[in-house]
């Protein structure tokens, strides 16, 4: 593993993908505030139903900002913290006994006891495949 200069973990917020998300968030929030203003004008013109929506749109605008901030925080979190849930060791299906590949072991620093997010993802992928093919071929007498 080559030693890369430690870049700020917040660097991603100026990546093209994230700039697009910032733009989307701003557009959505401005749009929702505008809709709230429109409903307020309708409510003042005598549409009683619009009063509920007048208060709802700003709430959704706030949600937009909160979800945007929370997603950025989650994205900035180091990867190890994301998969560190403690589940009963080996108490699950037989899949959890799969050995990590050499690459995975090197990537996680060789800590075997740590719950490996990559291995978890792989196990989740396997069980998803299993679910998808379960029952396939039954009509042909294969299962």
């Amino acid at each position: 593993m080559s030693s890369v200069a430690p870049r700020s973990r917040w660097r991603f917020v100026i990546s093209p993908r994230w700039l697009a998300w910032h733009a989307f968030t701003i557009l959505a929030v401005v749009g929702m505030l505008w809709l709230g203003d429109w409903q307020l004008r309708r409510a003042e013109a005598g549409n009683a139903l619009s009063w509920a929506y007048t208060f709802e749109w700003p709430v959704f605008a706030v949600f937009g900002i909160v979800f945007w901030a929370k997603t950025i925080r989650d994205e900035a979190k180091p990867r190890q913290a994301a998969g560190g849930e403690a589940t009963a060791p080996g108490g699950e299906s037989g899949l959890s006994g799969l050995p990590a590949t050499a690459g995975q072991r090197a990537a996680t620093g060789g800590d075997e006891d740590e719950h490996d997010p990559e291995l978890d993802a792989y196990n989740a992928y396997l069980s998803r495949l299993h679910k998808q093919v379960r029952g396939h071929g039954r009509a042909h007498g294969l299962r």
Binding site: R17, W18, W21, A48, L49, A52, Y53, E56, V59, F60, F63, F67, K70, T71, D74, E75, E85, T87, A88, G91, E92, S93, D120, N123, A124, Y125, S127, R128, K131, Q132
Partner: protein
């Protein structure tokens, strides 16, 4: 997230998806035609307001659920899940898709057998 919490979040999401899904169908296929053709505002007013407030709950629960089952961060998938509660029928389609792709693998990875049945199958 603890397996119990995960199961609770998933159950809350399914309940809210079903509730908002039914309300939005009633609103769009009964309430709005009645309003447009019979000038009967009753369903549009009450079901509309109820859906509006329950949708706030749906959005919160659905967002927490996408985090809990690791729907990719900052993805259109998350946006689709959140918006599904406003579009007739889409709620049910999305609930099935999310269950198959994210919820069931997440439950399996947490050592929880997906023993409860999804709301619709």
């Amino acid at each position: 997230m603890r397996p119990d919490t995960l199961r609770l979040v998933v159950r809350a999401y399914r309940v809210m998806a079903f509730t908002t899904g039914v309300l939005v169908i009633v609103l769009c296929f009964v309430g709005i035609p009645l309003q447009a053709f019979a000038h009967n505002l009753f369903i549009a007013t009450y079901v509309g307001t109820l859906h509006g407030f329950l949708y706030i709950v749906y959005v919160i629960v659905a967002f927490v659920m996408t985090r809990a089952v690791r729907v990719p961060l900052a993805s259109w998938r998350t946006v689709i899940v959140l918006l599904a509660g406003t579009i007739p029928v889409l709620t049910f389609v999305v609930e099935r898709w999310v269950s198959r792709t994210y919820i069931n693998p997440a439950l399996a990875a947490a050592g929880v057998a997906p023993r409860e049945h999804p709301v619709l199958r």
